[in-house]
Symmetry: C2
Subunit: 493 residues, 2 copies
């Protein structure tokens, strides 16, 4: 990985002074073209060893381009708000919207490499982390981002020389502390670990550019050219990305599906319901006040057919919770700011801190349901969404979230009855629109999408609960019990 | 303040059971009407003494209305990200957008009252804090919010009775700890301080409703009715708020203004500029790396006429800074999410943490410049904006920010020359649009707005620096020196 970066590169002053002004003008013009086109974001990652000129290069980029349209984030110690969420949360917060350049100074690679060097993780952990990074980067690229990754390298000899030189000069001596030499001791280990991590995360869609950090001129020109070339190519590229010819899963040959096999006759009479409701409210209330719950969170996802009673189930569920400690996030059409980001961004921004409960009334599954059926996204997009969603959910659960997902469904006859009742009720008729009737006609397409979704995303860490909801009482109690059982299991009670 | 709340109120079970279902339906319908109209946000503040049923009332509101459209935030210990910013930042984060109900559980009143009770502040501090609250609430109301404030009260006798009762019952004994009795000791002080704070912040536009917390039925019905009545009244109110007939400041009788009195002949030749630039970059770089700077931040605001060289000045200024520690926020038209909030919201969201620098390329002053001149807001709105902005900036500086504000200006002849040069340059012609020519025709209106702005907002803690920028060199060095001098003064160097 580092071979070419160690053969010794340099650009002399004359060469630099000739190229630099041209490169600046080129970069600045490309940056403005990007801003005007507003078609994709540019994400530049800067990583590498200490003293290889990362900071200086960042500075040069800010000088060459218009810093008003660069969003730079340097990742140091996470804040307490960040520590309470999946590791990737802080990086999602820093993503640039379409048309802007975002520079991540030390991004998602830093943690896994450091953990392995310091011995707090093993090879298997590192491998899992790099696989996650590969998936994450592929998702960003698939969502349209131009992703450029630069790794600044110094050979061991060059590093040693640099430390000695700084130490000798009275002007710079203060910059070298014990810590620097301490870190130098780990050079070989760091090199080995980062080499592996870089190789595993250097993919066709997001390769690393290794930059020899010895000579400032060389590294500035290398990075500047790489950015300009990539931006130019991408801005000129008017081709629509070819739709991957992945055939969507076929329905079962006998027509029997998860939905048709459901038992819709399950019921709970009023008296039993009232009793069960009170019991379940108390149970959930105690569980979420449990001491152990302060290091966990609950994310409950509600999806379902129209008029299946999602709203009612959510209202009952949260009635057992302390209103100070939960939020319900209703998902409607994305806002302008959300549309300028990868589609999962608008869910990341609502993730709860530890000790809290967040209920999503509709969710990221819109991607593989309404967006698939209505053609709001391409086939390739919803096909890859299954894997992206599984990755996302795995990150949630690893960070302590207890994830429960409900698909609430009623039979077509029951849905019809409820639609008609809504139309007649003066309090509920705003809840029914021509869109609902249209959706009903598309039921077969939706059924197929639902079954595919459950097959593809019913994972061990984030299982689906399909709730036959013809009987509202039964459905609501099922929801309660599922949530409480999941918490009990997670708290080991 | 608390007299009526201590005479003993209650609603019996029968009365409650009769009113409750009607009130629920009414509230739910009003909530949906609010959501559909999307014209204003509702902010409900819940404060008061321990054990007066605040939490239960919150819970009831969540049960009565649709919790999917209530944003509740309970304010406990601030996070580290919150501590690094003005006290009000966390409340701005929690504001509901138009059409939604936001419940703030313990809001901006809590801190000042507690500080005074615990003796960490004096009467003058409390008074300043309540005046700030009055201004803040007036701003919210003026921006269209429906603001409802409930204070839950228990008399000393009732509080004592409650603590004893809980302690006696084996089922509830665990709820009472030493801390509760400790707090009870402060009852009189707490009552006196909160009475004063409530009186000072109970204004015509945002009065407190004091709720006797003894009887649950009474408090639920009181709060529910108050919300329903206020919402109903406001939703029915189609009148456009009368424009306050405040005459805008008159121009001076002799026509001499801040702008016409400027000396535009100040210059710096190229050699002196290069030398000064290098010196100033180094100076600013050292200042922002100074140990003392970790408890401060810099907020630099750039405003100015078109083609005055704001962009160039900003680029030079940040070239002296560590790219990891500053952001430049270009202010364009507000996004959809920003339009659903008070106009200052979009600036609050970009405030830097301590130790950082944020440059605003255009700013909140748009309110009293372009929005005034182009008629994007009413006269009453920009007239009150001066005071709102002064309040805002005072909060910034109190929280450690060093605030510098630049008005960059060129003579009409110089502006014309720059416009023409831009039109000819292939790299810059996108920077000039018909709008720029139109703005130029409105110069007299803008001049008036600019002079008013400077007169109204040139405060001790946030002074304006007017930069005659006919000579770019002179302007850029002036900007540098102003920022560095402000930091030096703030760090006491």
């Amino acid at each position: 990985m580092f071979e070419t970066a160690e053969i010794g590169h340099r650009i002399d002053k004359a060469g630099y002074e000739q190229e630099e002004p041209l490169l600046r003008v080129r970069l600045l013009n490309l940056q403005y073209a990007l801003l005007r086109a507003k078609k994709f974001p540019v994400i530049i990652i800067i990583g590498g060893v200490d003293g290889a000129g990362k900071g200086e290069t960042l500075h040069i980029l800010h000088t060459w381009m218009d810093p008003r349209n660069i969003l730079t984030t340097a990742f140091g110690e996470p804040s307490d708000e960040e520590r309470d969420r999946p590791r990737m949360w802080r990086y999602w917060r820093a993503l640039p919207p379409k048309g802007r350049i975002g520079i991540l100074f030390g991004a998602w690679h830093t943690g896994p490499i450091q953990d392995r060097v310091m011995g707090s993780s093993d090879d298997a952990d590192l491998f899992r982390a790099t696989q996650r990074i590969v998936n994450h980067e592929r998702m960003l690229v698939d969502e349209g981002a131009l992703l450029l990754k630069f790794w600044f390298h110094l050979s061991k000899k060059a590093q040693k020389k640099r430390l000695h030189a700084l130490e000798k000069d009275p002007q710079t001596r203060w910059r070298i502390t014990e810590t620097d030499w301490e870190r130098f001791k780990h050079y070989d280990k760091f090199r080995a670990v980062s080499e592996r991590a870089l190789r595993d995360t250097s993919t066709g869609h997001a390769p690393w550019t290794i930059v020899d950090g010895t000579d400032p001129h060389f590294r500035y020109i290398t990075v500047g050219r790489a950015i300009a070339d990539a931006l130019e190519r991408r801005l000129a590229d008017d081709t629509v990305p070819p739709v991957q010819p992945v055939p969507p899963p076929e329905p079962p040959a006998d027509g029997r599906t998860l939905l048709s096999a459901l038992d819709y006759s399950q019921k709970l009479d009023h008296k039993d319901y009232e009793k069960a409701l009170e019991h379940e409210q108390g149970r959930l209330s105690l569980l979420t006040r449990h001491k152990k719950f302060t290091t966990r969170s609950v994310i409950a996802v509600f999806e379902g057919v129209d008029a299946a009673g999602k709203g009612g189930a959510i209202r009952r569920l949260v009635s057992g919770l302390d209103a100070r400690r939960y939020s319900v996030i209703p998902i409607a059409a994305p806002t302008e700011e959300e549309r300028a980001q990868p589609y999962l961004w608008r869910f990341w921004r609502h993730l709860p801190r530890l000790g809290r409960v967040t209920v999503f009334d509709r969710s990221w599954y819109g991607r593989v349901l309404v967006e698939r059926v209505e053609g709001f996204c391409a086939e390739a997009e919803w096909m890859r969404a299954y894997g992206e969603i599984n990755d996302f959910e795995e990150q949630l659960t690893e960070a302590g979230a207890i994830l429960v997902k409900f698909w609430m469904t009623v039979t077509p006859a029951e849905q019809l009855a409820r639609f008609q009742a809504r139309e007649k009720s003066p309090f509920k008729n705003f809840k029914i629109t021509p869109k609902d009737w249209r959706n009903r006609e598309k039921a077969p397409l939706y059924d197929r999408a639902i079954c595919d979704m459950i097959d593809q995303t019913n994972t061990r860490h984030a299982p689906w609960t399909i709730v036959p909801a013809n009987d509202k009482h039964f459905a609501r109690i099922t929801v309660f019990q599922t949530v409480s059982c999941a918490i009990e299991e997670a708290l080991g009670r």
